[in-house]
């Protein structure tokens, strides 16, 4: 083997390593372990549920974002509440196992993906719960830190908008008409 060949043998892996190590946050990013919490407050009771199986994608060039939420992954403190939540009267998760969001970070150009920072993001798109789709416009934050992109948002959701209404019984008094949804997701390159 001549010297030239040997040099290439070293340079190519080194270059590949450097590219991998300094790859900026860009392109299609995936989050497979996001956290969604929803919180319902009434004078009678506070109800909270957590889900750690949210899958999401974020395209850094277009700002396109999508979320898929496996509804049976919401965990409540009380088993009975969890069963009510899943039932036909509430979210009917057997027939509609996933909630979806697809939309855009409309000001994605404000985010500098090459350096650490916190950016305010305007998110606009369609949320589908239980086969009912409604447009939503909310604010969130995008944080770039050490090559990881984190997205957070907190917004209010009116249950009746998605056909979730309680006419009588405990749910009609103990579940808020408007619940608070908090989302936290870390993204990585594909």
């Amino acid at each position: 083997m001549n010297m030239k060949k040997l040099t290439y043998l070293f340079i190519i892996p080194m270059a590949m390593f450097a590219l991998a190590a300094f790859r900026p946050v860009a392109g299609k990013l995936i989050s497979k372990a996001g956290h969604i919490n929803f919180f319902s407050h009434t004078s009678l009771e506070d109800i909270s549920a957590n889900n750690y199986k949210v899958v999401s994608t974020l395209e850094t060039t277009t700002g396109n974002v999508a979320f898929s939420v496996p509804m049976q992954g919401f965990e409540f403190e009380k088993a009975l509440m969890q069963q009510h939540f899943n039932s036909k009267d509430f979210l009917n998760t057997k027939d509609f196992p996933k909630a979806k969001f697809e939309g855009k970070i409309t000001n994605i150009s404000d985010v500098d993906f090459t350096k650490d920072g916190v950016y305010e993001a305007n998110v606009s798109g369609n949320l589908t719960i239980k086969d009912v789709t409604k447009p939503i416009n909310e604010k969130g934050t995008v944080t770039i830190k050490g090559g990881v992109l984190n997205a957070k948002t907190k917004f209010k959701l009116v249950l009746a908008d998605y056909g979730i209404t309680f006419k009588k019984g405990k749910p009609s008094t103990n579940v808020a008409k408007e619940i608070e949804v908090t989302l936290d997701a870390d993204y990585q390159s594909e």
Binding site: K53, V55, S56, P70, Q83, P97, K98, K100
Partner: protein
């Protein structure tokens, strides 16, 4: 029996009845979550086959495996460990996926069962027991195949 005695007995019965009903209601309201690991296995199958079943007919899969109460079927799924990661609740997530398959089975462990996931290594074939939360499928908005989701998992010996 005198009238007084009858009333007394009736009152006692009523008191017991109310206490009983109250206890049942209280128990129902505070009943604990189903313990997946100590519950019986409903389906034993290969991860690849489960994924394929969902890709072929997702609705049929949902009707077969998901329960209206959310206490869905308890599965024992065998597959190859593709990767191990950690979620935001500090639970380990073991992805079972065969090379060449479009999707796998994403198994979330618990604080109590994390140690058994820690012992696993990529490439190893393992059987995991857990409750199914959702099936596999292609999502056009995400532009990717979603994995079958199992939670409350542990390694089955």
């Amino acid at each position: 029996m005198t009238k007084k005695k009858i009333i007394k007995v009736a009152l006692i019965v009523l008191a017991i009845g109310i206490t009983g009903a109250g206890s049942v209601a209280y128990y129902m309201f505070n009943k604990p979550h189903r313990d997946v690991q100590s519950s019986a296995i409903d389906f034993t199958l290969n991860g690849s086959a489960l994924v394929q079943e969902y890709l072929t007919d997702a609705n049929a899969g949902n009707q077969k495996y998901l329960a209206e109460t959310g206490d869905s079927k308890i599965m024992a799924v065998t597959g190859k460990v593709h990767s191990i990661s950690r979620d935001k609740n500090n639970q380990l997530v073991v992805l079972l996926k065969e090379d060449g398959d479009k999707a796998g089975v994403s198994c979330t462990f618990t604080a109590a069962t994390n140690p058994s996931a820690e012992k696993l290594t990529a490439g190893q074939t393992v059987t995991v027991k857990g409750v199914i939360r959702s099936g596999a499928g292609y999502d056009a908005d995400l532009d990717l195949y979603e994995d079958v989701i199992l939670e409350k998992c542990d390694v089955l010996n």
